[in-house]
Every structure is written in C-alpha cells, then in structure tokens.
C-alpha cells in the first residue's frame, strides 16, 4: 500500500467490473455492467432510473452475486458472498438512506461488529470513544459521539456512514445519491470530505441525478442505460448535453415532443373561483385538445386550485362548469362522473396503493363499472382492463401482479396516469407530472400527455419546471399569491415572461 499522502493514481485500478450481468427470474436488471474506479479519483455514475445503477452498487457491496462477468479488486478477481466479505475487502457503501441503528449511540453505530476489545473479549469503550472523537475531528464535524442515532439529520447520518468507512480504512467508497436529501451547506461539507478522501488515495464512486454536482466534484463520468455500460469520459472532455444524450439514447431536443393539435370547444370553464385566504377570483378555460400550463412559484396556490376544481377541497365562491353542466363543489365523486380526473403531486401517498398490484391500482377508479352486478370484481376482468392501459402507457412490467411499491418513480407515475385515464375523463388535471422522474420516462409522460390532447382531451398541467411548461403548454397561466397574474400564449411564452409574472417583477 502506498502511503495516503501520494494521490497519484497507480497502474492497477482499485476496482474493476467487466461485463457483469444479473437477472432476477425473467427480469434482467443488469445486462453488461462495466466500471473502473481508480485510486485518488472520483467517478460519477449516471443513468436513468432503472438503468441498473443500484443493481451494480449492490453487487459491489456483496448484497447480490453476479450471474456472469469479472469483478476485480486491486487487480485480483473476487467473489463476495455477503456484505461482510465486501466490507472486509475494503469496500464501503453509503446508501441514499443511511442505515443506522436508531437505538444505539453514534459511537456504537460506527464500530458495530468490530469494536476494539480488551481482555476476555470485553469491548474497550474508552478507546472506541476516543477513536470516534478523532474521526469526527478529522472530518471536521461536530457530532456528539454519545448521542443516540435516532433523530440525526440525514446529513449527519451520512457523515457517520463516512466515518464508518474511514475507520474501516475502506479503499473504495460508493455513495449512492448522497445529496438527494441535503441542503446546500451540507452538500458543500460532504464534497469537502469526499475530496479529502480522494486526496488520500481512496477510490470514490458518486451516483447522482444532479449534473451540476457531477461536474463540480467528479474526475470522470460513466453513463449507463438499460442495464448496460454506455461510455466513460473525463469530466473535462464532456458536457451536460452529451451526457444526457447518452443517458436517454436520443437528443435533448426530443424531450418535449409536442404534437400539433386542433383546439376545439371549451371543456372546462372556471369562473371567479375563490377560497378565502388561499386563492382569489380564479377564472380560466381549458379547451378540447389544449394543454394549459399552470406555472408559478411553490406556494402560489396552484395545487389548491386544482384540488378545489376537482372537489377535494371546498371553495367559497365561483363556479366550475364542465362541457356545459355545472360541477358541484366539494364532491370528487361527482367531478369524476362529470369527466374530471386529477393526478396528484404526491403519487406515493395520494395516487397509489403502494402495497397493491399494478392491476389493482389501475382499476381502482373504475371498480364500480368493472364489477358484476356492482358487487364482485373478478381477477380476470381486472386484468383485462388493466392490460389495455398498461400496454398503452408502456408500463415496464412483465407482470401486472407486481407490487406498485417496487416500481421506479417514472413507472409509478405512469400507473397513476393509467388509473385515471381508465375513467375516460374529458379533462385531466396533472400536478407536477414528472417530479422525481428520470429524463427518459419524463419524455414518455410528455409524449403521452401530448397524444391525449391530440385525442381531444383538455389538460391542465401544473408544473414548476419552466422547460416543461414552455415545451408542452399551448397557453400558460401564471399564478402568484393566489391570483392569476398572466395568461401567455405559446408563441409569447418565454422563461423570462413567465418568471416575471410569477415573481411580480416589473416588466
């Protein structure tokens, strides 16, 4: 082992994976995983959800065993049958959600399973405590080593995972989306720690969806797509467009595939909708074949308007008219019968029954119609109905019986969409339809929305992502502090005009 003071990369890579594959039953999670980590370097691993990154990490961690391919550590082939073996070989993995023992102290969490011992196999608490303090000093953080792990912030939990890795003298550190839950300051602190570990000659793998972080921290970047290795490039030799192109396998310009549609009659007509203290005098129309974007800053009252229109929440004044007939307030069932559908923002909580199967979720909104004599639902009817929608939306699920909770965010969103489309609505309200979804699935959701509009549906799309609003909407409504402050036609909508209306900045 070279001394930690020499960061120069050595000839032998710290870790090398060559054409690793892994299947679970009929599902191929990883076709050909290839990755090289060098000493004293930080490698980024990017790819859409479902590209095989997590499977690759779990193989490195010893949690899964590869079906085929080569796994070399310091140039020697290895085969880990458990996480303990990978750990003993000097590999530390920091998961997105740290895995600490909440009831034990911070110190015990760091040293669990390999505490320093005195005579009779007795744990040497004093030296364990001193080591924990030394670790935190080295990392430049202030965490009380005697406190319980319960209640620590995610950032501090990650620091503890890193402290654990250092105390193990791990040569290879894998960080799986460590910044997802961190604030700016915490990210800076994490990066400082990561750089100092790199400078000690350790090999780091950084998995992230945030390109700015990848470019700020990493030396090179490996791209994966559909369970296979695509490319590796030095950060200096590539750019965001290039990486995104490789991730999705097509050009960024295709991301918002807006179809030309014929815009027809007014379907949804909202007049003077008011809810005291939340929104005021909201009036707008959605026509057949039209996608109306509802933009604005978080807290402007957009979701609240959507909930009121759909009848989840009541309102104090105003009317909602759908295709000529009045939709009663505070009655979602009536809104559904009238032909409204709402795809909520928080799909895990409000949109899906996580523990239920795809088929059950797809048919939940049309159970009444599917049931025989209004009472019994057969699995067959359920499966037939759901198969139609699953195939239309290309939900990647070989089995409709799979639990929805196991799906990626993108596929979950498609199931939610399918569920509501099965009710055959005339107007669809979608709230942040692509939040937390990877680039490729995003494009699919966009294509689908556009296609639905082409079929004559009216769509009201709430979105905080300006490119999405600008790319998709025929008309943009901008809300600020509970009021609609601007209505901008597609041709005139620019990032500047929308932001100006959203923030109230003078024109």
């Amino acid at each position: 082992m070279a001394s930690p003071a020499t960061p120069a990369p050595r000839a032998t890579p710290a870790l090398e994976l060559r054409t690793i594959s892994k299947s679970f039953g009929a599902v191929v999670a990883l076709r050909s995983g290839t990755l090289t980590l060098e000493h004293g370097k930080i490698m980024a691993l990017v790819g859409e959800n479902g590209a095989g990154k997590s499977t690759l990490v779990k193989i490195i961690a010893g949690l899964y065993q590869p079906d085929s391919g080569e796994f070399l550590l310091e140039g020697r082939p290895v085969e880990f049958r458990s996480t303990a073996e990978a750990k003993a070989a000097g590999i530390a993995v920091i998961y997105q959600e740290p895995t600490l023992f909440p009831d034990l102290t911070v110190t015990e969490n760091i040293f669990m399973g390999r505490q320093p011992l005195r005579s009779f196999g007795r744990i040497d608490r004093k030296s364990m405590h001193a080591e924990a303090i030394a670790l935190f000093q080295r990392l430049g953080v202030r965490i009380n080593p005697d406190r319980q792990a319960r209640g620590l912030s995610i950032a501090d939990q990650q620091i503890i995972e890193i402290a654990k890795a250092i105390s193990l003298d791990a040569r290879v550190l894998i960080m799986d989306e460590p910044t997802a839950a961190l604030s700016g300051v915490e990210v800076d602190r994490l990066f400082a720690v990561a750089r100092s570990l790199r400078d000690e000659g350790r090999a780091l793998l950084f998995i992230s969806h945030r390109f700015d972080e990848v470019f700020a921290l990493c030396d090179s970047v490996t791209v994966m797509r559909d369970g296979a290795y695509i490319s590796t490039a030095k950060i200096a030799d590539t750019d965001v467009d290039e990486i995104v192109r490789q991730m999705v396998g097509r050009d960024v310009a295709d991301l918002f595939p807006k179809q030309q549609t014929t815009i027809g009659d007014v379907l949804l007509d909202v007049k003077g909708l008011t809810s005291a203290g939340i929104f005021d005098d909201i009036s707008f129309q959605v026509r057949s074949g039209e996608i109306v974007g509802l933009a604005g800053l978080v807290g402007a009252g957009r979701s609240e308007v959507a909930r009121a229109v759909f009848g989840v929440d009541g309102y104090d004044g105003g009317t909602v008219v759908l295709a000529g007939s009045r939709v009663p307030g505070h009655d979602p069932a009536a809104a559904m019968r009238a032909g409204l559908a709402l795809v909520p923002e928080d799909r895990r909580r409000e949109g899906l029954v996580i523990g239920a199967s795809v088929a059950e979720n797809l048919t939940i909104a049309i159970r009444q119609r599917l049931s025989a004599a209004g009472l019994f639902i057969t699995g067959r009817r359920e499966n037939e109905a759901s198969r139609v929608w699953a195939s239309r939306l290309e939900v990647k699920s070989s089995a409709l019986d799979a639990e929805v909770g196991t799906f990626s965010g993108g596929n979950q969103q498609k199931v939610v969409l399918a569920k509501w489309l099965a009710t055959e609505p005339r107007v669809l309200i979608v709230d942040e339809p692509t939040r937390g979804i990877d680039v490729g699935t995003k494009a699919e959701v966009h294509r689908l929305l556009s296609q639905l509009a082409g079929e004559g549906l009216g769509i009201l799309m709430i979105s905080s992502e300006l490119p999405e609003v600008l790319g998709m909407a025929d008309r943009v409504l901008v809300m600020r502090e509970g009021r609609i402050t601007a209505t901008i036609e597609r041709a005139d909508a620019t990032a500047e005009s929308v932001m100006r209306a959203a923030t109230g900045a003078a024109a």
Partner: protein, 329 residues
C-alpha cells in the same frame, strides 16, 4: 453515552423503587412479610423461576422477537427431569444438564423455524407453545411426578441456603450477571441490540442476524430448561400443566422492566427487577387486603403503565434532541 445511560438507569431505578415500595408497604402492614424466616425466603425464591425465563425472554425481545413457548418448555423439561429421577439413577447434576440441553434444543427448534421459514417469531412460538404442551400432555397423561420420586439431595436445592441466601436465588443471580455482562460488554451482545434496533440495517452491516437470533432462542430455551429443573426442586410435584402461563409472566416482566417490545432497548436487569415486582406484588396484594380479582387488574395496569412510561420518555428525549439541534444551528 451519558444521556442514554442516565435514561436507562432512571428506567430501571424506577422499577426498583416501585418494587421496594411494595415490599416496604407490605412489611409495614405485616412485618413477617420480610422479617421472618419464611417471609424472607419467599421474597427471594418465589420470583426466581420467572426471573430466569424473563432474562432469556429479554434477550429474545431485544432482537425484536418474542418467545411464547417458554412455559411449555418448562413443562417438558420439568417432566423429563422428574421422569429421569423416578426411573433411573442418573446423578442429579447430569439430569439438570440434560434438562438444560433439552430446553436449548427446543429453543433451537424455535430459532431454526423462524430463520428458515422466515415466519414471525410470534406465530412460530405461539405454535410451539401449544405443540410442546401437547407433547407433554400426550406423554404425561394423568400421571404426575411426586416428591417421593425425587432424590433428597436434589430436593435440598429447593430449600438450601448459603449465608442466608437461598441457593435458587444464587443460581438465578449468577445467570443474570452473566447475561447482563454478555449483552453489555461483548460484540455479540451489542449485536443483539443492533439487530433489534433495525434488522435490515443489521443485514447491510454484514452482521450475522440469523445466527444471533438463533442464539437468543437457544439461550431462552436453555434458561427455561434450567427453570424446569428448579421447578422440580422447588415444588417436588410435576404434572402435565407445569409452567403453563409462565410465558406471559416472562413477557410482562421484561416489558415492565423497560425492554422495548420492538427491540433494541432495555436490559436483563430491568427484566429481572420486573419479574421481582410482578411476583412480589401478587403475594403482597392479599396481605394489603386487596381483593382477589383486583390482583390481575393491578398486573395489567402495571404493564400498561410501563409501556406508557416508555413512550413518554421516548417522546421527551426526541424533544430534547430537537431542542439541542436547534440551539446548535
């Protein structure tokens, strides 16, 4: 460590104080409750069988499992020991070892079923609670072992004393100290807590979860086996219902003593004091003139009070931590 130590210490001190309160109140009412040969002996001996299985139960519960079969294990091992005394001339020490090993084997059955079949321990041990008892009834029928079948030198253990301390109490104390030392000071012991605190994290850590849980059930079974032998020594007679109901007393003792039912928290000291309190209160209430049917209710109230207390302590600690973090920020 200090805050945590203070907290757990407070928890066990509380139960100890409650126990002392019961003893003092009862003694004031009737001094012979403590200050008589029999009173003192009963005070120290009566809770010991439950104390032993409560120690094993605490170790199981700390790993986020539960062992409901211990009462039936006592029954089987007690009858085994009695039968060996009645029909063979095997020395009593060997009989005791056979009973303990038998208990450990029954515990291993539990542990293996749980780790292989991946069925929650509540279900498995509820099953073996009935299965073991069923085997016992099948084997025993209406027979019973009588004290005349038991060798005198062995029966002496039930009554013998060493420096005024009953031998049964000394045995229980040795077991208690050994278990407490193991849980507190060894890697393996700490892993019990880690597993109970978050089993999934324990797997990711590379801890040998299955092996530890199996060990917990073997220890619990072995201690039930020991309790079975001591049952023979103390009561002299064994029928097919020996030890029935002990399992719930063991769980109750552990919970009263501050062992969290979801694992990861508590100590065998707490469980032991819980057992002392539970069985002493049963004897104290009649002395204090409290009606029979209230006695069950008091035990129930104790268990609920203990759980509510734990919840309050946890909430208070969570609040304290938040305040600390806010003041740091």
């Amino acid at each position: 460590m200090n805050s945590l130590k203070r907290l757990t210490r407070a928890r066990e001190t509380g139960i100890l104080l409650a126990f002392l309160l019961v003893v003092i109140a009862t003694t004031v009412k009737n001094p012979s409750f403590v200050f008589s040969q029999d009173g003192f002996r009963d005070l120290l001996v009566t809770p010991m069988l439950v104390l032993l299985i409560a120690v094993g139960e605490a170790m199981v519960i700390i790993t986020r499992n539960v062992d409901l079969s211990v009462g039936s294990v006592i029954g089987l091992t007690a009858y085994t020991a009695g039968t060996l005394f009645k029909y063979t001339d095997i020395p009593w020490l060997l009989v005791a070892l056979i009973a303990i090993a038998g208990g450990a084997a029954l515990g291993a059955v539990n542990g293996l079923l749980i780790s292989i079949a991946k069925v929650p321990s509540l279900v498995i041990t509820l099953g073996t609670l009935y299965a073991f008892r069923g085997i016992n009834v099948l084997w025993t029928g209406s027979n019973r072992i009588n004290s005349t079948d038991i060798p005198n030198d062995f029966q002496m253990i039930g009554t013998a004393q060493l420096l005024y301390i009953p031998v049964i109490t000394i045995i229980a104390a040795v077991v208690l100290i050994a278990a407490a030392w193991y849980l507190r000071n060894t890697r393996g012991g700490r892993e019990f807590y880690a597993i109970g605190s978050d089993p999934d994290a324990a797997n990711l850590y590379g801890l040998k979860v299955g092996r530890r849980v199996l060990l917990a059930f073997i220890v619990s079974g072995a201690l039930a086996g020991l309790a079975g032998v001591l049952y023979v020594a103390r009561y002299g007679t064994v029928d097919s219902q020996a030890g029935s109901g002990f399992e719930l007393q063991a769980v109750g003792a552990a919970v009263i003593g501050g062992v969290a039912i979801f694992g990861g928290i508590g100590s065998v000291w707490g469980a032991a004091i819980g057992a002392m309190l539970l069985l002493t209160i049963n004897r104290a209430l009649p002395v204090l003139g409290i009606q029979d049917f209230w006695q069950q209710a008091v035990v129930g109230a104790l268990i609920i009070a203990a759980i509510v207390l734990d919840r309050i302590l946890a909430l208070r600690q969570a609040r304290r931590l938040t305040v600390m973090e806010d003041s740091q920020a």
